[in-house]
Every structure is written in structure tokens, then in C-alpha cells.
């Protein structure tokens, strides 16, 4: 009973076993509190009970008890179980009424046999099997979600969807202007690092000027899109998953469904469209800032003039390189949005599930960005683009 106990009684809890004819008597004294419990005392008491010769009944003497709480109740319950096991009559009527009342309340609702707590460890094959099935289910579920997204676009184009324009514009702002600082910083540093690595190698052959080619092509074709995709997966994909997951927890998604409004049209599509439309612009911005980072290294460490660097950059880069990056950006935008929205829509019903959905959206988004980038590169190589 908390701090008030100490003010009332500081007597240590004691339990004794005595015998009166065919009756066993458990005597409790002092202050019984969960905060100062005497587990050795209790274990000794039950060891002593086990050693007793057969008795007819067990009763309690609590006249010397100062104060008590649940720590005493569990001893009483244990004693009751002991009596049941040893076929000794449990004299519950010898308990003080207030203790008996709580014990009765605890026993009022019988234990539910839920089957939990008897977990058997799964075999290695079972584990691998379960993981494989879960992975296949995950891919199936993502494909289904992608399909539903296309259906939703169809409805939006036909004007038969409840499309949240406010959310669309708001998401556009979040995915564009608000993302510029972080995309700019990371792209600038990426261009800078590329230029440094290139400069160290190319300078040895007197080909330092080609740093401009390296940075321009790398940023335009690959790094601009990949770095923006990864940033947006961590920033926006996670936010999508958390926002939609929270809506699911608070039954907002169910409320939409009961109004016959498709959550795909109202919640998912505005986000997906906004992000995939903004991603190419962000990629373009990342390319420019990355090239600027490279130019600063070229100017500072290689002594290349701004004009030379610009001319070399323009000469090394074709329209196809820029378009490749922009198309990749749009694809990565769709991937990030689908990963975020899908994880959010599949989120469980508690706070931890929202966190898991956000984490999973980021992991899924980044994995698919890298994988799809590799696939696009292979296709380009095959088509000689």
C-alpha cells in the first residue's frame, strides 16, 4: 500500500506453520507488502507444508497482521492450490472477510483456456517455409495494391472518384518546396564527393577536366534520381505510412468505406499522383545542385574555370541522359508512394503497428528503388539507349 505502509507498521512480514490436531495453521504477522516481500520466507513455509504428515484441514491465523496487500493474497491462493493438490480441506472461512472478498473476486471469473503460453519452437524448415509464404504474400499484396491504384486512376480519369484535391495540393507542397532543402543538401554533397573521387583518379592522367563529364552523367542518369528517391522514401514514404496507419487505427479508413468512398481514391491516389508528379522536378533540381557541387571541386582543386566546366558538362550530357533520370524519378516516386500507402493501409491497430508500417515502407521503398534502377539500366543497355 505504498508509502503509507511504512508510517503504520515497519514490522517484517512473518509466516509460521503450526499444528492443532489434524489441522494445519498458517499464521501471518507484520507488514505484507509487494515492495518488501519475503520470498524466502514463503518458499520455506511451503517446503515445511510439504513435509507435514497428512492433515484434514488448513486454516489461517491473521490476528497479528499489521497491513497487507497482494503479496499476501498470492500466498493465500498458493495455499489453496496446495490444499487442492494434497486433498486437504481449505478453511477459507478462517480468512479475514476483506482478504476472502478479494480472493473470491479473483476466482469469480474462471481462467480462459486460450492456448497461449504453451509455445513450441518451430523447426528450421517451418521457419523458412513461413518466411517464404510471407514473402510471396507480401509481393502478391503489393501487386494487388498496385492494381487497385490503376483502377483508382481509371475512376479519377472518368470523373467517377471522390478525389481529395486539397490533399493533392498539400502533398504536392510537402513533396516539392518543403523537400528542397534536404534534397539540395544531399545532392550537393553527392556531386562534391563524386568530383573528389574522380579528381583523385583523373588528375593522375592529366584528365582532370573529365570530372565534369563524370559528375554530369552520374548525376543525370543515376545519382540524382536514386538519391532523391532514397530521401523521399525516408521522408515522404514513411510519412504516408504513418499518416494512413494512424487513420486506420482511428477507424477513419473504415468511416470512408461506410460512406462508400474508396480510400484508394480519396487517400492513396492524391498522394501517389502528387509525389510521382513532383519527383521528376526534384530530380532535375538534384541534378543541377549536384553538378554545382562538382563544379566547386573542379574550380577549387583542379583549377578548371567556370566556363570550361560548363562547356564540358553540356558537351558530355545528352537529352537522353536527362530524360533517363526524369523517368527514373517518376518511377521511384510511384514506388515510394505505393510502398508508403500500401504499408499504411495494411497497418495493424496499435501504436507499434504504425511505427512498423513506417519502417517497413522505408525499407520496401529503398529496396525497390535500387532494384528497379538496376532493371532500368539493364533494359537501357539491351536497347542501346
Amino acid at each position: 500500500m505504498g508509502t503509507t505502509n511504512s508510517a503504520i507498521s515497519t514490522a517484517a512480514p512473518k509466516a509460521n506453520l503450526s499444528r492443532s490436531g489434524q489441522r494445519l495453521v498458517l499464521t501471518f504477522e507484520g507488514n505484507w507488502s509487494v515492495r518488501h516481500t519475503q520470498h524466502r520466507e514463503i518458499d520455506n513455509l511451503f517446503s515445511e507444508l510439504d513435509q507435514q504428515t497428512p492433515a484434514e484441514a488448513l486454516q489461517f491465523d491473521m490476528s497479528q497482521l499489521s497491513s497487507w496487500d497482494t503479496s499476501l493474497l498470492i500466498v493465500v491462493v498458493r495455499a489453496e492450490e496446495w490444499c487442492r493438490e494434497h486433498e486437504v480441506k481449505f478453511l477459507g472461512e478462517s480468512l479475514p472477510p476483506n482478504i476472502a472478498s478479494l480472493v473470491a473476486l479473483a476466482e469469480e471469473v474462471p481462467e480462459r483456456k486460450t492456448g497461449r503460453g504453451n509455445k513450441t519452437s518451430a523447426s528450421l524448415f517451418e521457419l523458412i517455409g513461413n518466411k517464404t509464404i510471407a514473402a510471396i504474400d507480401g509481393i502478391g499484396s503489393t501487386l494487388q495494391f498496385t492494381g487497385e491504384t490503376f483502377l483508382s486512376f481509371g475512376r479519377i480519369l472518368r470523373g467517377k472518384a471522390a478525389f481529395d484535391w486539397r490533399l493533392f495540393w498539400l502533398t504536392m507542397e510537402e513533396c516539392s518546396a518543403q523537400a528542397l532543402p534536404i534534397v539540395g543538401l544531399i545532392s550537393f554533397l553527392t556531386g562534391l564527393i563524386f568530383a573528389f573521387v574522380g579528381a583523385l583518379q583523373l588528375r593522375q592522367f592529366g584528365a582532370g577536366i573529365y570530372v565534369a563529364n563524370l559528375v554530369a552523367v552520374a548525376m543525370a542518369r543515376e545519382m540524382g534520381a536514386i538519391m532523391t528517391g532514397i530521401i523521399m522514401a525516408g521522408r515522404t514514404g514513411a510519412a504516408f505510412a504513418a499518416q494512413i496507419g494512424s487513420m486506420k487505427v482511428s477507424e477513419e479508413i473504415d468511416a470512408l468505406r461506410t460512406l462508400a468512398i474508396s480510400p484508394m481514391d480519396y487517400v492513396v491516389s492524391p498522394r501517389l499522383l502528387a509525389l510521382s508528379m513532383m519527383m521528376p522536378l526534384l530530380v532535375l533540381y538534384a541534378d543541377v545542385v549536384g553538378i554545382l557541387g562538382g563544379a566547386i571541386v573542379g574550380r577549387s582543386f583542379l583549377g578548371i574555370t567556370w566556363t570550361q566546366y560548363w562547356a564540358q558538362t553540356v558537351g558530355s550530357m545528352g537529352l537522353l541522359d536527362i530524360l533517363t533520370g526524369l523517368v527514373k524519378g517518376a518511377i521511384f516516386g510511384v514506388i515510394v508512394a505505393i510502398a508508403g500507402c500500401e504499408r499504411g493501409m495494411k497497418c495493424g491497430n496499435d501504436a507499434a503497428a504504425v511505427g512498423n508500417a513506417a519502417t517497413s515502407a522505408v525499407v520496401l521503398g529503398i529496396t525497390w528503388i535500387v532494384a528497379s534502377d538496376a532493371i532500368i539500366d539493364v533494359i537501357q543497355e539491351v536497347l542501346k539507349l
Binding site: 508509502t3 503504520i8 495453521v25 520470498h39 497487507w68 503479496s71 486460450t114
Partner: protein
């Protein structure tokens, strides 16, 4: 005298609940002002709760009942007024002293507020692990006992997401009772519960009061619960922004009491028997 005879004469007097040893009120609130920034929600709140009493905080929606609870448990800092527990100032105590006093509180939040990454058993066990040196066997026995008291024995290994809202609330109560606190605070305990579970909860409140001498503060709208469990109550009025009635709800419905309080407790119809009161207790 044989032990049996001795027991028959002394059992009834034995095992006095620990919390009843001090004569100072369990809770005393003096001149408390509740505010959100410059917006004053309630002012000049004064009341006392005797040890081992159940006090119910009543009032219309949005009048500040849950906010008052937040002040009482230390989630909101007192700017004006003072709160005392057993004669010790809580609002003017050092952070360490406040923490020490908070360890004697058990709080049941509206939604149960269970930690979703822990099973029910782990939720109840956490405060015990933190503040006691119980053996793991004893700890599990206490956890099972607490869950049994709220009718959830057998659900130890379930996660909060796997049980219903009512069960989550009951598990939250088991966690609130984990350390056998001297003071229990309930925020809307009956909301969302079926009548049987709600009645069982009321019964548990009364048994905790009677058996362990726990002082209990309950925020509730449930009239049946109010008349069943309350020894005393305070009525918060949003219009005057203060406490307009303090006393047993059965007294507050009598002729001559504040009309606003009577209206509330009689659901706006003074000819009806209040829910939870037997017909013979109908007000004059």
C-alpha cells in the same frame, strides 16, 4: 486457547488495511486554478477526499474533469493553488519528492494506455519489476492475481492489439493496481464497457476500497456507477468555472440541492428514479 478458538474471536479484527492509518485527508485541493495558457478552465477548486473514500468527479462534457485528473496525478503543473496528499504538498514538492508520491498512485487512462509492444503480463509486470525485488515466480503470481481480479486470467500472453477495447481497459486497471497503490485514479472507467463488465468494475472499486482501504478518484459520466460507488463527489460547472457542489450524490439529488446538479444526476427529469438507485430512494 486453541488456535481455532483464537481465530474465531480475532479473525474479524485482523488485517486492517494499511492505508487507513493516517487521519489527514488522502487528498486535499486548495484554490486550484486549471488553465491552458491564458485560458482559465476552472478556478478556486477546493475539496478534500478522506482516506479510503471513493470520490467521483462529475460535470458536463468539456468542463475539465479529465484536466483536473491530470493536475491531481502531476501531468499538469499547478500554477495557482495547491494539492496535498496525506498532508504533504504535492504541487510544491521537489521533482524527486513528486516522483516518490507518484509511485503511490495508480492511474487508469481512458483507453487503457497499454504499451502495445508488451503482452498483458509484461504490461502489469513492468512497474513491479521497476520498484520491487520480487522473485520471477512471485512476480508472475502477482501479475496473474491482478489479471484475475479484473477477470482476465488466461490472457497473460496476449498483446493489447489482440483484445477488445473493454479488455484493454480492464488490463489497464490491472496495471494501475500492480503496486497496490494507496490512491487510484480512474478516467472514464466504464465508457465503452458492457453493463456486466461495468458492474464488475464497480464491484472491484468497492472491494478495493473496503479490503485495502484504497482511496479512489473516478471521472465518470455513468450515473449507475456514480450512485453505486461514490462516497462523495464534486460537480464541475463550465458556466461558473468552479465546483458548484460537493457531497454524496444521493444527497445532491434531494430537493433543495443545486438545480444544475439535480438536473444532471436526474438526467433532466426530476420525476424519474436516478439510474443506479433503488426505487425507494427516489428523491422527494
Amino acid at each position: 486457547m486453541s488456535p481455532t478458538e483464537k481465530l474465531s474471536t480475532e479473525t474479524q479484527a485482523a488485517a486492517a488495511p494499511a492505508a487507513l492509518g493516517d487521519s489527514s485527508p488522502a487528498i486535499e485541493v486548495r484554490g486550484l486554478e486549471m488553465a491552458y495558457g491564458s485560458f482559465v478552465l476552472m478556478h478556486d477548486i477546493n475539496f478534500t477526499v478522506a482516506a479510503g473514500e471513493v470520490m467521483v468527479i462529475i460535470g458536463g462534457s468539456g468542463c475539465g474533469k479529465s484536466t483536473l485528473l491530470k493536475y491531481l496525478i502531476g501531468l499538469k503543473e499547478v500554477e495557482k493553488g495547491e494539492i496535498f496528499y496525506r498532508g504533504r504538498s504535492f504541487s510544491k514538492a521537489s521533482p524527486e519528492e513528486q516522483e516518490e508520491m507518484q509511485r503511490t498512485f495508480g492511474v487508469l487512462y481512458q483507453g487503457g494506455a497499454l504499451w502495445s509492444s508488451l503482452t498483458l503480463a509484461e504490461n502489469v509486470a513492468l512497474p513491479l519489476e521497476q520498484y520491487t525485488d520480487l522473485s520471477s515466480k512471485e512476480l508472475m503470481e502477482i501479475v496473474s492475481m491482478k489479471l484475475a481480479l479484473v477477470g482476465l486470467k488466461g490472457f497473460e500472453e496476449f498483446y493489447p492489439s489482440e483484445i477488445s477495447g473493454g479488455m484493454r481497459k480492464r488490463a489497464g486497471l490491472a496495471r494501475a493496481m500492480a503496486l497496490d497503490p494507496a490512491l487510484l485514479f480512474f478516467d472514464e472507467p466504464s465508457a465503452g464497457l458492457d453493463p456486466i463488465t461495468s458492474r464488475r468494475l464497480d464491484e472491484l472499486v468497492l472491494r478495493l476500497r473496503d479490503s485495502l482501504g484504497t482511496t479512489i478518484v473516478v471521472v465518470t459520466h455513468e450515473l449507475a456507477s456514480i450512485f453505486t460507488i461514490a462516497d462523495t463527489s464534486i460537480f464541475l460547472d463550465a458556466e461558473t468555472k468552479t465546483v458548484i457542489a460537493h457531497g454524496n450524490p444521493r444527497e445532491l439529488i434531494k430537493e433543495g440541492s443545486d438545480l444544475r446538479v439535480r438536473d444532471f444526476l436526474l438526467r433532466g427529469d426530476p420525476t424519474k428514479t436516478p439510474i443506479g438507485l433503488p426505487r425507494e430512494s427516489q428523491p422527494a
